[in-house]
Amino acid sequence: MAAHESTYEPKSRFGKWMDVRLPIGRLVHDQLVDFPTPRNLNYLWTFGGILSFFLMLQILTGIVLAMHYQPSAADAFDSIVRIDRDVNFGWLLRPLHAVGASMFFLAVYIHIFRGLYYGSYKAPREILWIIGVLIFVAMMAAAFLGYSLPWGQMSFWAVTVITNLFSSLDDVIPGLGTAVVQWLWGGYSVSGVTLNRFFSLHYLLPFVIVGLVGLHIWALHVVGQNNPTGVDIKTKSDAVTFYPYATSKDAVGIFGFMILFLWFVFFLPDYLGHADNYIPADPLVTPPHIVPEWYFLPYYAILRAIPSKLFGVIAIFSSMGVLLFVPWLDTSLVRSTKYRPLYKWFFWLFVFSCLALGYLGSKPAEGAYVFWARVFTVYYFAHFLIVLPLIGLIERPKSVPGSITEDVLGPAETAGAAAAGKKG
């Protein structure tokens, strides 16, 4: 249980003085040292730490990059090239930020799929989950705004395509879409004015994300972490302390993930980007294929799968919005998919659908690609709206262990551990 009793005892005179005024020491001790952590967490649970690392890295590299960047249509592209060539270690700083954004998304996708697999959204973690979805949406906005900044061909045309989506509102109220789009652009077309405001918002959003992450961690520390069994911490022997157990494991996770991250930074800095973005923005030349960054591809596929622009836009927002309702769409009483023999198959089908949509999003919207994009779009929504509610009702889950300790030690040893726990 998360609401554990505080074991903090200030030792120094200053510590005692501080503790009755602003108990920061107590907060750190209770939440980051003594916090009870399920003893059976696997490495998928290190992604929270990995994501915190990336958030800080993006903010730090971003602040320095902003010192050298010029948010104007005339100078933006040149200033990016100057960062790569003339700024001290600029050639390293920019890939750290750009590849960092990609890795941030890779980590967040793993984090989300982990939550879906182990039922981390179920009561009492609904608010925790919803805040997580909001962070994800804010991240997407920040990434989209950031992608516009180099003002290359892909930046410019991505902004054009995505902002133009809002013009579909003209189908609802004539004139509304046009008004919204012109308001976003700050004019009658995508221009330096648009770039300037996007830069401002790109600098703002990360701090919104920091605030949301604060709430996310707060909510997490109220309800406690889920774990692979999905069974709550019941006794002391189910948990270990955050320090040194979780911290030592998080450190391995963060450093391990950094190997992958820096492999890209040093050896493949442009692999995840698009070659066209090394061509300066040109409003008169449309690139043959306008493709977003890889982490938006599944959503781009959903958008293009639907023949009507308005409904495509509705679908793309619904595909994120539906995540908010997952805690109530899942009717199963069992949290962890480990004990859900039928749902397991559908979970992996959902993962496959997302990968397939990602692949299809990178392809031109023609022929068989559109057909398959429609098939997987249908499954994307069906998974949440039909499969998740239905399977919970018809599935017969496997037996769930009585406690985390029982799962780790087996029933015989558990009795002994409980007895030892009482003595200690």
Partner: protein, 294 residues
């Protein structure tokens, strides 16, 4: 290892599969015919690759004698030609080169408020013949010769692998740090001029090129079997269309990514540090968790 990016066999399978499953128009219209781009063994390729200085010097020679007729390098300063990690010509030679450059820099206004034309110095960009895009287009009959500073990064070789092998090629490319698609494409373009097939109707003033998307290119063949640049005897290679194309591509890879040598050297140090630290952290974690069964 050479591998066809166009992967003709797979393309045929894909076309068949698409035709089989298609509900709308089938792909593979004429202008979508696969580009022919081959993967080459570049000195600067992969995780350990570094630029070959002699090759960059030869490449600059080709650039100077051929490409500068139409193209410039506005992001590359003359001075950087003397810096380590590049062609690293002697500084005096670069000064002389800048002072004898055929194109002047527009500078000013001077004390009398007039713009002046002057020869470039070490801190000036390697300018091309045209003052601006409009001048270029008017001289080139409407076509714009792009600045070549970033051309290697701004181009790529399209993968035509079908969906079921796409993932494996992707992982293989990541594991081998393949990032030379732009260089492969540029080499294929420079050597890709051919007689247009009878079925293709060429537009006025266009040249058929096997590597160019759509195959109709406004740039006349800059090099050919009969027209190529001869090298100095001590340059490490003999001139030919193939060698010229490779060398100038390598040079333009450097102009697009002048920090590659430093980046890859530092990369190994950082990754080695990370690997060792991760192993140590893992050992610490094992030790700590040895106290509890988990």
């Amino acid at each position: 290892m050479k591998r066809l990016v166009s992967r003709g066999g797979f393309a045929a399978v894909m076309t068949a599969a698409v035709a089989f499953a298609a509900t709308g128009p089938v792909l593979a219209a004429d202008e979508h015919a696969p580009q022919h781009v081959e993967r080459l063994d570049w000195a600067f390729a992969g995780v350990g690759g570094q630029y070959d200085r002699a090759q960059l010097q030869r490449g600059f020679q080709v650039f100077q004698q051929v490409c500068t007729a139409c193209h410039g390098l506005k992001y590359v300063r003359f001075g950087s030609l003397a810096e380590p990690g590049g062609p690293q010509f002697p500084l005096e030679a670069v000064k002389a080169l800048a002072a004898s450059w055929p194109y002047e820099i527009t500078d000013g206004p001077n004390d009398e408020g007039k713009m002046i034309e002057r020869l470039p110095g070490l801190a000036d960009p390697i300018v091309g013949p045209y003052k601006n895009d409009k001048e270029a287009r008017s001289v080139q009959g409407g076509a714009l010769p792009p600045d070549l500073s970033l051309i290697v990064k701004a181009r790529k070789a399209e993968s035509h692998a079908p969906w079921y092998t796409h993932w494996f090629w992707m992982l293989a490319d990541i594991a081998t740090a393949y990032q030379e698609g732009g260089a492969d494409y540029l080499y294929a373009l420079l050597t890709g001029y051919e007689e247009a097939p009878a079925s293709v109707e060429m537009a006025e003033g266009m040249y058929y090129n096997a590597a160019f998307p759509g195959h109709q290119l406004a740039m006349s063949p800059p090099l050919s079997k009969d027209f190529f640049i001869e090298y100095q005897p001590d340059s490490g290679a003999t001139g030919s269309l193939d060698q010229n194309a490779k060398d100038v591509t390598a040079f333009l890879a450097w102009t697009a990514d002048p920090r590659l040598d430093t980046r890859k050297r530092l990369g190994w140090q950082v990754l080695l540090y990370l690997l060792i630290t991760t192993l140590l952290l893992y050992a610490v974690k094992k030790r700590i968790w040895a106290r509890v069964k988990h």
